[in-house]
């Protein structure tokens, strides 16, 4: 956990944000809102999108080429991060810290190229976002009071660890360290499986039923609106944890099914009470 008092002390000369979607755009917006004094560079493939972000005042400069920045943050789909780092790695300056905001950590680390010249990669996952996409929905307060998981390993230098923690804390986040493996197991259950479940419920809704989908249905399926281009790679990159989580949910649904089928009010009450208790323990 961070000390919030260091928020004006982000010691990075410049921050390059690769991918100006909701997360990348919000990082840029948050840096601006928190009066980061260094340069913010937006990096992307579409010149038009980049010019839009520049015109919106999100970033100080833009490029479609290899980014310069003392800190480079990849906010692109999880299957692209390592390949982009590889293609950019020759122009990184010594001492560059590389991170990403991807929702899986093991697969990205495994695919990451070896970095030389004092360039270091440490994975991050800010637990913030929404079903919306694009920097047009960027929000400078997206990260405030949220958790950011960072996944250093035995090769990570104390300096890199400290810089990374300082960066996310600067955006208002509480930083928690864990291994990439533990991250993927936990997030499989708290994020990737709920996404598949929400999508499954939305996916089987018939057109004739849709007019009668009220608040409960809308809440339960909200994240299903997320972009498949982001979620296909996440689910595939976290295969084992996703399968294990899907099995846990399926087992539980089978218990519901059994209790409903046989009119077992007591079992149904226990199932619903456990769900209610777990949900109420979350603070919203």
């Amino acid at each position: 956990m961070n000390d919030r008092s260091d928020r004006h002390l982000l010691g990075e000369a410049s921050v390059a944000v690769v991918g100006l979607g909701l997360i990348g755009g919000s990082i840029a917006a948050a840096l601006r809102a928190r009066q980061y004094s260094g340069n913010v560079v937006g990096v992307g493939r579409s010149r038009e999108r980049l010019e839009g972000a520049l015109a919106a005042g999100l970033v100080d400069e833009v490029t479609t080429e290899s980014p310069r920045g003392s800190l480079v943050v990849y906010c692109t789909p999880v299957d692209l991060v390592a390949e982009q780092v590889r293609s950019h790695s020759e122009t990184f300056e010594p001492g560059t810290l590389v991170t990403d905001a991807g929702s899986v950590k093991g697969a990205i680390r495994d695919a990451m190229p070896r970095l030389a010249g004092g360039v270091e990669y440490v994975g991050s996952h800010p637990l913030a976002g929404s079903e919306k996409t694009g920097y047009e929905h960027a929000a400078p307060d997206l990260f405030v009071d949220r958790v950011c998981i960072v996944t250093p390993d035995e090769s990570t230098t104390p300096e890199a660890r400290q810089r990374l923690e300082r960066f996310w804390a600067f955006l208002g986040m509480r930083v928690v360290e864990m291994s990439a493996e533990q991250h993927d197991r936990v997030l499989g259950m708290t994020s990737h499986v709920p996404h598949a479940v929400a999508s499954a419920v939305a996916g089987v809704l018939a057109d004739a039923e849709a007019p009668f989908a009220a608040t409960g249905f809308r809440d339960t399926t909200r994240i299903a609106a997320g972009d498949p281009a982001i979620w296909v790679p996440i689910l595939l990159a976290n295969r084992d944890a996703a399968l294990a989580g899907l099995d846990r949910v399926r087992g539980r649904l089978d218990e519901f099914r059994h209790a409903v089928k046989y009119g077992d009010a007591r079992a149904l009450d226990r199932l619903l009470a456990e769900g209610a208790r777990n949900r109420e323990a979350l603070d919203d």
Copy 2:
């Protein structure tokens, strides 16, 4: 669908609301907010709760006995409605219109006693609510622009139909008629199954995972916080539709599982895209 211009023309001398939970309390609050000129009677079992609602200005009078009202609305758990109507039926005045706000319609209708003396029952289901309970969370605008399903049958008089529609329209609702059977099939999929699914996802969350449950998990599981005392009877009373809906979701989850297991990006993309399309078609 109603003509909103008739909102000041609710021709009921008095409205009795049985059960001052979220729905009953919000009906009372909405009648007040819309300057209903008749008497609003709160009916319940707990004298203390009733006095609280009276003190809060939600209702004009309260009773733990049989209610008087030209319109009596039962907002109690679905397994109690018919029995309560039975116990109250001897004191209903001629011309009383009885309805309920329960989430299942077939089982309530089947259990309903035969009513004499010009007393008529027609089922209703206002599609509004939240995971919160109790009149303390009552909101006068809970029903505005929401759909209310009413379930007349061949024995329903045109007058009862018109009075019921006028009542829900007075609260700001769009009224849709269908059979009790159709209601239960549709709501099984749009409400009862999502409740079980949300509860299943919340129910399998381990304590160690809970700190990392972010917005997506919270949205997906929000309704799981609902009161089991309300939801056990709903799921049991809509057994066939709930089982059919659970099977639809399970089949879909099995497709997700298969696609993840075998790394089938194309199948996964199709599944997620269908879910996203269905969810985006809902207007929030």
